[in-house]
């Protein structure tokens, strides 16, 4: 069998994305990937597709029943605690500090930490077992698994850290995953979507600040529905909500409200848009925050905007 040629061009990064998703990325390569990954939809998608395959690989190992004492030990350690955000789990509580049993890494569909906390460089400092029967080599806990939430503003554009860069890519990954998953939102907020057929996104729009860079949110359109995957869009006040505007081509009309959505949690989350109008004829989408239930004729202030893919 002939030798394979080394990857070239963008394949270099996709090969690294594959390695990242299955915990095989070298720390040295992580730096290379870090340089590239910001905003790369192809790499984000590659990670997500690889994770899907990895799930199947997990089922490919010979079945071994866990010892009965493991079940008992886990249930004994699951001591009673108060409910955690009973209405929605689609987020990370902001009060939580440096936790003691963070899953981290590609496990982190939670914050799609695929691109950050769980890479081999961080793993070197990952936490050890807490109540396991054997404690070997538990190193110091990896720092920064919990990123502090930003200021309670409608748009936290001031955040421009490495973590921020990871989150931008995470939004793209989340947008791709919205297409992969049959579940577009937490079932508490949209039960009908839980068992909806899988469908890939038809169109997406990555929205950035009008005078800035970076992703504020990504709109994912699929099958007549739309979701907004937030990045740095903070929750709206109770008496306000976000409006999605369709911006027509120059000289062909004025922006129109095409839908509204409510953001309940800081960070990377997906929210359904209540569409009030077709997106057809609007090559650009924009977001503003307005009084809930109002019918503004024009946006009071555009928080972010971006072109809708065709």
């Amino acid at each position: 069998m002939s030798a394979s040629a080394p990857p070239r061009g963008h394949d270099i990064y996709e090969a690294l994305a594959v390695a990242l998703a299955i915990d095989s990325l070298e720390p040295a390569d992580q730096a290379i990937f870090e340089e590239h990954r910001g905003g790369c939809v192809r790499c984000a998608r590659t990670v997500l597709l690889t994770l899907e395959v990895a799930t199947e690989l997990a089922y490919g190992v010979p079945d071994i029943d866990p010892p009965p004492q493991l079940r008992r030990r886990i249930l004994a350690a699951a001591t009673p605690r108060p409910p955690i955000r009973a209405t929605s789990l689609d987020g990370v509580p902001e009060h939580r500090g440096h936790d003691e049993d963070d899953l981290g890494g590609p496990a982190g569909f939670a914050a799609l930490d695929l691109f950050g906390d769980g890479t081999p460089a961080d793993r070197a400092a990952s936490d050890g077992p807490e109540t396991a029967p054997r404690t070997q080599g538990g190193g110091p806990r990896s720092p920064g698994h919990r990123r502090p939430s930003g200021p309670p503003l409608g748009l936290r554009t001031a955040v421009r850290t490495g973590s921020r860069r990871r989150r931008i890519v995470s939004v793209l990954a989340a947008a791709a995953l919205v297409g992969i998953s049959a579940v577009t939102t937490w079932e508490v907020t949209r039960p009908a979507a839980v068992t909806a057929p899988v469908a890939a996104p038809e169109r997406t729009a990555t929205l950035s600040p009008p005078a800035g860079q970076g992703t504020v949110a990504t709109v994912v359109v699929r099958g007549g529905t739309a979701d907004v995957v937030t990045d740095v869009l903070a929750p709206n006040a109770e008496d306000r909500q976000f409006y999605l505007w369709g911006v027509p081509a120059r000289g062909t009309g004025t922006p129109q409200v095409v839908g509204t959505f409510t953001v309940t949690t800081s960070g990377l989350h997906s929210y359904p848009v209540q569409l009030t109008r077709s997106l057809e004829g609007y090559p650009v989408l924009a977001i503003s925050e307005e009084a809930a239930g109002s019918t503004p004729a024009s946006p009071s202030g555009v928080l972010a905007r971006g072109a809708l893919s065709r």
Binding site: M1, A3, S4, A5, D11, A15, V18, I22, D23, S24, A28, R45, L49, L51, E52, V53, A54, T55, L57, A58, Y59, G60, V61, D63, I64, P66, L70, I74, L75, A77, A78, I84, A86, L89, D90, G91, D101, D102, L103, P106, A107, F109, A110, G128, E130, T131, P133, R134, Q136, G137, L177, S181, A182, V183, T185, E187, V198, A199, A200, H269
Partner: protein, 237 residues
Amino acid sequence: MADRPDGYREPFGIRSRMRCVRTVTETPTPPSRADENAWSAALVVRVAAGETRALEELYDRYARPAYSLARRVTGDPAFAEEVVQEVFLAVWRQPDRFQASRGGFASWLLAAVHHKAVDAVRREEAVRRRALALQAVEGLDASDPPANRPEDALEERVRGERVRCALRELPETQREAMTLAYYGGYTQREIASLTNTPLGTVKTRMHRAMHNLRAALDDLSDLEGLPVTDDTEGGSR
């Protein structure tokens, strides 16, 4: 083609592939992944509400694949228990780490298990791990499920057989690279060293292996397959 009555198994090759196809086509269709996702997501909601019974149900459904994966990666029962315990307790303490909008619970849980298992073996870095990883490459073919499995293990068996078939159909070098990486917990550079192969070649093999696996497991999602370059090794399909 029927299996030989004396239990002889062909090594990887065309006969194995034919048997592989037969096995897959005769197995029942697993439950819908969307249904399972909805079921497990509902349980996580109950876990968040503080219901230990829900944690039990999640454990009973997923502990076996989680433990099996941890055993494979760590090669050590105690480490595997440690990993599974850590992950399930994290589910109990931080159920909000799982976000149903971004994938199924099984994917999330098994990715967590894999990540923690790789953590464990890299902390240990025992010489033993080398041998175990090589066993991982060869051992996947000798993984017939034990008899008298509970009914709820049917889906796991079907899924397991599908992915084992897909692995068997990979070119040998791709299979070796993927199994060392995923089941052995090796980095690409370590795989290059172990197999005396240039690093770039290892990366290419893994990339192509993932593409081929995805093509073989073609019902994962509706997204397009991974873009790849020309495969000088020849595809498996």
